[in-house]
Amino acid sequence: MITALFMLAPGLVEVVHVAEVGATTFKPTVFGTPGCAYDHQDVATESFGVFALTLTNLVIGSSIQIEDQSGTTTFYNGTAAGTSQLINLDAFAPGSSLNDLRIKVRKGSSAPYYQPYETLATASVGAQSIYVSQIKDD
């Protein structure tokens, strides 16, 4: 998919989507002229932008795993250092299954223990905050 923005006149912008044909493993030549901006995504697994996900109310020390909902791709794997954590993730083209996220938060290695917490989210260019409601398991 190719997306082009054309500044036709001051205050008038035209957005053009152009379907690519054939293999799109390369990026076409990028060009620009005054009044014209160009952006391009040639494959569905290529980032479309940034999804700024903030997890709040985290129990410090919890393990965090963010993956796609089919469980095949891990986007983030780490440990909560604070009660709120900003995680910048890739957003993909609208409709991409890679935007369908599963967020896991677990704390079972040391007391206090918490039941595994899991929720779903959809990535998109921009920001989102998710309140993590962990329940004690002790």
Binding site: S63, I64, Q65, N77, R106, G108, Y113, P116, K136, D137
Partner: protein, 477 residues
């Protein structure tokens, strides 16, 4: 209990949680279900699987508890998604229950409690068969499979037994369907009545016939004919003490006997309607007496043991063997007239014990409410007249001699002395009678003939062993 060592188990990527080495009863240290949950959750927040334990945050949640973690009480653990254990691995766990396969499989905790002889062996019957042991002797705390394929095994029922020959026995029914941990209360003690070896007891068992089947019998103790649901037939040379031991062996854990179509090791009672006698399924032996369990008729008892047992009929009547006793008067000489009869409580003889009517020339008489403890033969006094009799049954006294006098009797007082005769020697005894309950007799000894004495009168007590009195013969010179 200790935290689980990761090397003890493996978890395959398909969720199979398996023991690395087999559980050894008495040697291996089992883990609680809480410890299993704790270990799984410890793995579940790892960034990635390690070793042979394929659980991490990359995968699904492996387990959850019903309620909060509490090491002080049994924990009901559910293995989630595809995580599962097999029967062998389940032997490693205790103190709670483990459910898996979306509830289709359940292992429930089973714990025995109570006072038992140290190291009493315990076995479990489920679906009418012994569960292969995976526990050491003594109290148990295990997981027992209660459900498989979504169906409860034996409706969730199991019975925990302890039946070691030489000890009293015990069993307890539990239902495992609810999960958690179920308690089985047992109590065993050394049985001092067991002195034979198991082999000797088994040998005696082989001489005894035990058969279920209705039989109506009268033990002769005054309870009349009663229905029994089975018969224990001794060979006539086996003491009751030995028979008791043989039957205890037959009910022991290692018995190969079959009793009323049931393997001896799980025989409990002859009829489901009867109260069980768990310590001794064939009845308790105490004080040299066998209190035979309800429903059994006992045949082939040695004469020496004729009073050393009691039965309980199908309808719950306690049946005692006949107890024949006699009354004897000592200190008499030939020619003394001895009269022993029931005391009236007022210093006299109970001469109106009965009220009878009799036809002239009759040789039998009906005695309403004739007592069971009437001598088998002797004398009946009708309105003071003396008649001997040869037998009685029911309320009929027979073999009167002489026959009833002319004119007969109509509603006159009568009594049956225990002794009413002239002594032929230094003692005189009544005929045997069936003892029912104790009573007092008044006796009189008189002689106005060749050896005259001052009439002597006193009382004696008749007990379960009979009665006796001694005459004091003061010469009447």
């Amino acid at each position: 209990m200790a935290d689980i060592n990761a090397s003890t188990f493996s978890i395959a990527s398909n969720g199979d949680l398996r023991q690395v080495a087999a559980f050894v009863p008495g040697t291996s240290s089992p883990h609680t279900t809480l410890e299993l949950h704790k270990w799984l959750q410890d793995l579940a927040d790892n960034a990635a699987p390690s070793g042979d334990d394929n659980v991490s945050i990359l995968g699904t949640n492996p387990s959850e508890l019903a309620g909060k973690r509490n090491a002080s009480r049994p924990m009901a653990l559910t293995l989630l998604n595809s995580v599962n254990i097999d029967d062998a691995t389940a032997q490693w766990f205790q103190f709670g229950s483990i459910e898996q396969a979306a509830g289709a499989v359940l292992y429930t905790g089973l714990k025995s409690i109570g006072t038992i002889v140290a190291a009493s062996p315990i076995y479990i019957i489920q679906s009418a068969a012994k569960v292969t042991k995976y526990w050491a002797n003594g109290h148990i705390q295990i997981l027992l499979k209660a459900k498989t394929g979504g169906t409860l095994i034996d409706s969730g029922n199991a019975t925990v037994y302890s039946r070691k020959y030489g000890q009293t026995y015990s069993h307890f029914d539990v239902n495992l369907a609810a999960g958690g941990e179920q308690n089985a209360a047992l109590g065993t003690s050394l049985d001092s009545n067991i002195v034979l070896s198991a082999a000797a007891a088994e040998a005696i068992w082989n001489t005894i016939t035990v058969a279920a089947g209705d039989t109506t019998q009268d033990l002769g103790g005054g309870q009349g004919s009663k229905l029994h649901k089975g018969t224990i037939t001794l060979n006539g040379t086996t003491t009751l003490a030995d028979a008791y031991q043989a039957l205890m062996w037959a009910c022991s854990e290692n018995s190969t006997a079959t009793i009323a179509s049931v393997p001896g090791y799980r025989y409990r009672v002859l009829n489901a309607a009867y109260a069980e006698n768990a310590p001794a399924p064939f009845g308790t032996f105490a004080g040299g007496k066998w209190f035979v369990a309800q429903g059994w008729w006992l045949a082939g008892v040695m004469s020496a043991d004729s009073k050393n047992y009691q039965l309980t009929s199908h309808d719950g009547t306690v049946e005692t063997p006949p107890n024949s006793v006699t009354v004897t008067m000592n200190g008499v000489v030939s020619g003394d007239y001895v009269l022993v009869a029931r005391d009236d409580g007022s210093g006299g003889i109970l001469s109106n014990e009965y009220t009878v009517s009799a036809s002239a020339a009759a040789t039998s008489v009906t005695v309403p409410s004739l007592k069971a403890d009437t001598p088998a033969s002797g004398v009946i006094r009708i309105n003071g007249d003396r008649y001997t009799y040869t037998s009685w049954t029911g309320t009929t006294v027979s073999g009167l001699s002489p026959a009833i006098k002319a004119g007969g009797y109509t509603a006159v007082p009568a009594f049956i002395p225990l002794i009413d005769a002239v002594a032929a020697g230094s003692t005189i005894s009544s005929a045997a009678m069936q003892y029912s309950s104790g009573f007092t007799c008044r006796y009189r000894v008189r002689n106005g003939g060749a050896s005259p004495v001052v009439p002597f009168e006193s009382t004696l007590a008749v007990t379960a062993t009979g009665g006796s009195g001694t005459a004091v013969r003061n010469a009447d010179e």
